[in-house]
């Protein structure tokens, strides 16, 4: 066997074995269906948009080209960030490195194997996302079956280049700082960068570009469209090649530039690896000496949780310490903050108050539907922070199970540590959006009551599903929500949200009708029954999830 194939073999065999072990027909069906629905949705939306562009003479292809270049540019940014972080694990912290470095394996093979690993881990999601996008372009512009090969040929280089550059950036950083410190540093940088980009993109309000009155004349508009984002960006070369093939005239030059750049980057990356990797790898073995002032935590949190029993109090304090000392965990709060700001900004940017009269009907409907959206945001946050809570105890379960800690106390601590911050956030989002929307007191009361019930249920479901589908072997908390269990949790939560919205539509429509006719709101049996039903559903979901989670935990064996 070729040495490179030999190095890679254990990885793909492990992946294959894991896939076979974890696959059941039902699981494959659910994942396949969700993936297919997502693909079809992306394809459908883009197909329609491109259809509209195609109908616009002169500037149609320019619009399609601009859209593709923007999409590819965002892919490129995501890939670069993702590769920098992944390279740290695969090149410096992976468990197989000791064996690989101590074996008589050629450095170039180690580099290529690890580069491939980095590329696959950080690019698979982008690659999957690219499929419906390129399919929509190919189908809409009649690219034919050969377009598939063209797309692969022009997308591969923009996967390779960020992998090489990302790995090189990590290599340089590790040579400057210890690897474990670099990981902390990178998580913060990556999150701040991602948050900044998203925030900037939203705050410049791209929807204004769709309004022609924003431009003085058509020529200005076309000039903006014709101008490439930057002629030196690989995403631009890929766009040129794709649009050249689809709309014509096709030019080989961008393809040649793409591949020659990818190969040249690879060679430069390998040279840098040869020069810096041995020192970097040695530095990566250094532990990050971190003395911490634990007494501050104890002094601050001890009195706050003093009414709790000793075991519950120590458990809650332990969970809080672990969260705030792990940069990969707390740094995601920055992104969360950005998303909440954008959420509120979006509500504010809704064109509801453009007319002379405040559209009461629209405000009420938006305020009501906002519940579902806020619930979805909370579910996503719970998936990231509450769902992994049980999995993260896996390696230490020997201690918890051999101590006289009641598993109910453990679940209780995990539940409230997750629920309280979630509840604060839920109330903030709901109250602020309703204030921005100038919603009526009735809608405010309905929103606040419902979101409290939903939060209590969502948090319990996250914990329950986390216990049902534990990922004890995964060390990175951020990977746990992307598992099959995370998907099932999200789907169940969406079903709960839909059910609650449908039930509450009854009293809200009654309220709307009465308000529209200028009558007092009738508090009838249907209205009361609907609110009681929502409360019963949410509280049952809470109780059932925690019960199922507890039963599952009692059966854990290690």
């Amino acid at each position: 066997m070729h040495p490179l194939a030999l190095i890679i073999a254990p990885k793909w065999r492990t992946a294959l074995a894991r896939f076979r072990q974890g696959q059941t027909r039902g699981k494959a069906l659910i994942i396949g269906s969700v993936g297919l629905v997502f693909w079809l949705a992306v394809f459908g939306v883009l197909y329609r948009v491109l259809g509209y562009f195609r109908g616009v003479e002169e500037i149609g292809p320019l619009l399609a080209s601009k859209l593709l270049s923007l999409v590819l540019l965002s892919f490129l940014s995501i890939l670069l960030l993702s590769n920098v972080i992944t390279a740290l694990s695969s090149f410096f912290l992976a468990k197989d490195l000791d064996l690989m470095v101590s074996s008589p394996v050629d450095w170039l093979h180690v580099y290529l194997a690890k580069l491939g690993e980095t590329l696959v881990h950080s690019s698979w999601m982008v690659a999957l996302m690219a499929v419906p996008i390129f399919a929509a372009y190919g189908v809409r512009y009649d690219g034919g079956w050969f377009f598939g090969f063209v797309a692969i040929a022009v997308v591969l280089p923009i996967l390779i280049m960020p992998a090489v550059v990302g790995s090189a950036v990590t290599l340089i950083l590790v040579n400057a700082f210890p690897a474990r410190r670099t990981r902390d540093l990178l998580s913060v940088i990556a999150i701040v960068a991602a948050g900044g980009v998203v925030m900037l993109f939203r705050l410049i309000r791209p929807e204004r570009l769709a309004r022609p009155e924003g431009f003085q004349n058509l020529l200005d508009f076309i000039t903006v469209l014709r101008t490439p984002t930057s002629p030196f960006l690989p995403s631009e070369w890929t766009t040129d090649a794709v649009m050249g093939y689809l709309v014509g005239p096709f030019d080989w030059f961008p393809v040649i530039v793409l591949w020659s750049s990818a190969l040249a980057t690879g060679v430069l990356g390998a040279m840098l690896h040869y020069a810096l990797y041995p020192t970097g790898f040695t530095k990566a073995q250094e532990g990050a000496e971190r003395f911490v002032k634990g007494w501050i935590w104890q002094a601050l949190l001890g009195p706050v949780f003093s009414p709790l029993s000793v075991s519950k109090r120590e458990f809650v304090i332990k969970d809080l310490k672990l969260f705030f000392r792990d940069t990969t965990q707390w740094s995601q709060l920055i992104l969360l903050g950005v998303l909440v700001v954008i959420y509120l900004f979006n509500i504010r940017a809704l064109p509801l108050f453009t007319g002379e009269q405040v559209p009461f009907y629209l405000v009420t409907v938006v305020s009501f539907l906002n519940l579902g959206l806020a619930g979805f945001v909370l579910a996503a946050i719970a998936a990231r922070f509450v769902f992994p809570a049980i999995s993260l105890e896996g390696r230490q379960m020997w201690l918890l199970r051999s101590s006289p800690l009641d598993l109910r106390a453990l679940l209780w601590s995990k539940y409230w540590v997750g629920t309280v911050p979630l509840l604060v956030l839920a109330l903030l989002i709901t109250v602020f959006t309703n204030v921005i929307l100038k919603a009526s007191p009735f809608m405010m009361a309905v929103s606040v009551g419902t979101i409290v019930l939903l939060t209590v249920a969502i948090s319990a479901m996250a914990l329950g599903f986390g216990a049902l589908y534990p990922q004890f072997e995964t060390e990175n908390a951020a990977q746990i929500p992307t598992s099959f269990g995370g998907l099932v949790f999200m789907m169940t939560t969406i079903a709960l949200l839909a059910l609650v919205i449908v039930i509450e539509a009854v009293p809200v429509s009654t309220y709307l009708r009465a308000s529209f006719n200028g009558q007092p709101v009738p508090v009838d049996i249907w209205m009361i029954a609907a609110f009681v039903a929502v409360a019963v559903i949410c509280l049952s979901a809470t109780g059932l999830s925690l019960k199922v989670g507890l039963t599952k935990m009692e059966g854990f064996e290690f």
């Binding site: 532990g287 003395f291 911490v292 458990f315």
Partner: protein, 252 residues
């Protein structure tokens, strides 16, 4: 103190531990030996309450571990073979947390943390995150955590792994002193010299069955092995032919 009655554990069709009976009284250091995969760790993890027995009962100082796990576990200190601890806690915080799990806190616990860290020469590392600890230091921390709540019995799986000679000697002294004060230690180990030097009695388990038990002299009598060492007894009881074959292969 520790009593096992027809303790059985199966994983699917595989019987890891097969109806074993064992009694370790107070004030005894009991060695639990056996080849790899014989069922030692499974037995110890069942006694620690981590694995649920398929059949049988476990008594810890008169408390049934299955029926009344809280009371039974309060008596126990468990030291696993793999030292997984919370990486983002300091040594002192980890010990405080473990004491909390046993419902203990306050100045008594703080004093005990200082004593234990001092005993295991970890005082300098007291306020450093566990992620910076070496394997041996983690092992010492886990041993400290098993002692923090003053247990009546200690169940320990491969205690010497990762310890330096000084740490190993210290641990031997601690266990000896512990049993002399009326405590009970059930210890699994592959280091037969350690078992021979430290244990009052020994049981040898193979393929889920206890094949021999007693003091070294009793084991010699059972196997008619004259004045053989524990290593020779062990090989005789657990299939020494395989070892001799292995030695022959290595010589080839």
């Amino acid at each position: 103190m520790i009593r096992l009655e027809r303790l059985t554990k199966t994983f699917g069709k595989f019987v890891a531990v097969n109806a074993i009976e064992l009694h370790v009284p107070r004030g005894e250091l009991f060695g639990f030996l056996g080849p790899n995969g014989a069922g030692k760790t499974t037995t110890l993890r069942m006694i620690a309450g981590i694995l649920r027995p398929t059949e049988g009962r476990i008594w810890l100082g008169g408390d049934d571990l299955i029926a009344d796990p809280m009371s039974a576990k309060r008596r126990l200190g468990f030291i696993p073979d793999r030292p997984f601890v919370y990486e983002k806690l300091t040594g002192a915080e980890f010990l405080r947390f473990v004491a909390g799990l046993f419902g203990q806190d306050g100045k008594v616990v703080e004093r005990r943390i200082d004593e234990l860290l001092d005993l295991f020469e970890l005082s300098v590392w007291k306020d450093e995150l566990v992620e910076a600890y070496s394997h041996g230091m983690r092992q010492k921390l886990i041993i400290s955590s098993a002692l923090i709540h003053k247990p009546e019995c200690i169940v320990v799986d491969e205690p010497m792994v990762g310890l330096d000679p000084r740490g190993a000697r210290l641990l031997k002294n601690i266990f000896r002193a512990f049993v002399e004060r009326g405590g009970t230690v059930l210890m699994s180990t592959h280091t037969l010299e350690v078992a021979q030097a430290m244990c009052d009695r020994i049981a040898i388990i193979q393929e889920g069955h206890i094949v021999a038990r007693g003091t070294i002299d009793e084991l010699r009598q059972q196997t008619a092995a004259g004045d053989a060492s524990l290593e020779e007894l062990f090989l005789k009881l657990t299939g020494g032919e395989a070892v001799r074959e292995l030695a022959a292969i290595l010589q080839d």
